[in-house]
Amino acid sequence: MARLNDSGQWIVMMGFIVSIAIFLLALVVAESAIVGKTTSESVLEFPKTDIQDLRSELMNLTWLELNPNYQDDIAKISLERKNAVVRYQLDQTGEVPILYIHYNNGITQYNEIYFED
């Protein structure tokens, strides 16, 4: 049997180090993928646009002094199509009209008291 050749140990060791480094980098890559997934999931879950739309529609309607016909429509359609409980009320007894907005879709709850100075 040939005598053991003890040259080239550096090459072997560097090979090991590089392969371990590649493995660690792969872990980092996998981790970043999970971060991207959870981020976009929470963006999808959070009803940002629902609340913005509701607010902007109610602000527009406040100019029309909130016809009571619309009140129920928005609340009922919200419950049926978006599974969200929506309540709002325009209080005109004070000096300035005050608009109360309540939104709850089971995950996110939003309350607002709005009045113009």
């Binding site: 792969a26 890559v29 999970i34 963006v43 999808l44 527009n60 016909n69 429509d73």
Partner: protein, 164 residues
């Protein structure tokens, strides 16, 4: 024949197997990208579709109806398409993107005490592609034809968006 170096050969084969296994592990652990990219794509689709609806629901000037309310109250699905398609399908290089969509209008029917749907725009068939649903409230002053039931009311506009 030189009969030395068999151990080195075996070592080389073992190293090759190790590298192949490592490469397999790396690639299979990185393939988690697929579900993640679906979520990112869906999020972008949702934001694009909603932004376009908001633009359409913004009146050009004070006191006039928005393009969205206009299309619904005139019962003109082609107006909706003419306004909505450029907003979501325009690319910077001048070509057209391939997003398809359908649009429905939901209103509250007080006679039957239930939500009613008007299938307003339904040109393309939906074959269970990965889709996003976006909504927008709209005020309709007076509808015509199919939307004649909508008089001085609030409706919910629902758009289903998917990439063809």
């Amino acid at each position: 024949m030189n009969d030395s170096g068999q151990l080195y050969t075996i070592e080389g084969v073992a190293a090759a197997i190790m590298m192949v296994i490592t490469a397999y592990l790396v690639i299979s652990s990185a393939s988690i990208f697929t579900p993640q990219e679906k979520h990112v794509a869906q999020m972008q689709l949702e934001q694009l579709g909603h932004d376009a609806l908001v633009v359409m629901d913004t009146p050009r000037e004070n006191g006039v109806q928005s393009n969205l309310s206009d299309a619904i109250s005139s019962d003109k699905p082609e107006w909706f398409k003419a306004n909505y398609s450029p907003l979501i399908n325009t690319r910077t290089d001048g070509t057209q993107d391939t997003l398809n969509y359908s649009m429905s209008v939901f209103y509250w029917d007080s006679d039957t005490d239930s939500t009613k749907e008007i299938e307003f725009f339904n040109e393309w068939d939906y074959h269970r592609e990965n889709a996003a649903k976006v909504t927008q409230w709209a005020y309709i002053e007076s509808g015509t034809d199919r939307t004649a039931v909508l008089q001085d009311t609030i409706v919910l506009v629902e758009v289903l968006l998917w990439r063809d």
